[in-house]
Symmetry: C2
Subunit: 244 residues, 2 copies
């Protein structure tokens, strides 16, 4: 790109941050941030809050999570796709059913999602997105009239397709004259439009597809691609994610 | 993404590094790197080498470029899209015609492209790509049988559409069973396939389109989107880009 001339405008911005490594390029303090980790952290957070969890406390490190032992909270720790030994559960959405989480507080650490939440803490507000709450989240964002940054948690700071495609789904729902899109938002929407009629088929092209199958989490994956299964919007309130 | 299980394979990789900020995630030393800055640095480098420039020396800072005053080299410095005062020229391809550059050495610093070259120096080999040399570059890459990293220079570490789409064009030409693509390569190819029948039209959606028009460089932009106008492949040899 040859030059960006500063463009004065009162229009709001929708930006997509393709990996947490690019967060320093965005002005978080002027924006509502949506954290996205489709497989599986933010899908499970949406499902847990929908199902009556009182709060989910995202922490970056397994040790921080372990420090809550004996508090009565449920402790959830996932690293590299597996439940960490000694913890109640990891980030499979099926661990966040009403029977398991209603009225409970869950302390959660995951490889990518909770890390992205911590890195976004200077934002005006942080909410959690997944295909499960796509429409209610998008409607709420429209009503807010704020700059929006869609933060893809990716995989260990790498770009991934599923988080980007979800970001594109939000861009598509938001799209109107009110917003200026950055190039990443334009690309994300285009990729979503290619994928939308067969999300699972599109993502089966991804470099991780074969590896995910080996993990035996195909049911989790299928669940995380269900659209509008929930309507709750988890929002960060102090150190806790609660229902908006 | 939930987990990447290490997958042993003898197949070669094609990765797309969407911005220089993500270079630390890639193993450059095992790979051939293609540096991409479509508007306009790498297009101009391809054109200059094609047109008989003896060498182009990429430097990161304007001061380094200025230090070559009096050596007989042509000095080219661009910042934020404009020629820096006191320099022979910037990064418009029309400054790299045979009449101007044949037999000459050019010292070049640009906002994004030369920076990306410097950051890629640990690679096995660094070559320069643009739409101008797309097919000859892709054929050479195929013949090399190496891991390939396509490095998009972007804009000040931000993702941009034009560099990504060119990366996708290379992925498309390379695509065969020999290579494993990362998610960024898959996305780049999909975006290229959307764009390929009307590159200029597709890029006119980009967030920078209006601003580029204000710079009055539409002719440069149109030229940089010409496919296979040249066949020379610039390669870094020590501190100089020369014809392969």
């Amino acid at each position: 790109m040859s030059k960006i001339v500063s463009l004065k405008s009162d229009r709001l911005k929708v930006e997509v941050c393709l990996t947490p490594a690019l967060l320093p390029l965005h002005k978080l303090e002027n924006s509502v941030v949506v954290v996205i980790d489709i497989f599986r952290a933010t899908s499970s957070i949406c499902y847990g809050i929908e199902n009556g969890a009182e709060a989910i406390i995202p922490v970056s490190h397994v040790e921080e999570c372990a420090a809550y032992h004996g508090t009565g909270h449920l402790l959830a720790a996932e690293r590299d796709g597996e439940v960490v030994e000694g913890f109640d559960f990891g980030n499979s959405p099926f661990a966040y059913t009403p029977e398991k989480v209603a009225g409970k507080t869950i302390v959660l650490t995951t490889t990518n999602g909770t890390h992205a939440i911590q890195l976004s803490r200077s934002a005006k507000r942080i909410v959690i997105g997944s295909f499960l709450n796509l429409s209610s989240l998008s409607q709420w964002l429209k009503d807010e009239h704020e700059n929006i940054i869609l933060v893809c948690a990716g995989w260990k700071n790498n770009f991934n397709l599923e988080d980007t495609i979800f970001a594109g789904a939000v861009v598509h729902q938001l799209k109107d004259e009110k917003y200026i899109l950055d190039d990443a938002a334009i690309a994300a929407e285009d990729l979503y439009l290619l994928a939308k009629n067969d999300l699972a088929g599109f993502l089966s092209k991804s470099s991780h597809s074969e590896r995910l199958k080996k993990l035996g989490i195909e049911e989790d994956i299928a669940f995380c691609l269900k659209i509008d299964e929930t309507s709750a919007i988890p929002v960060l309130d102090g150190d806790k994610l609660v229902k908006l």
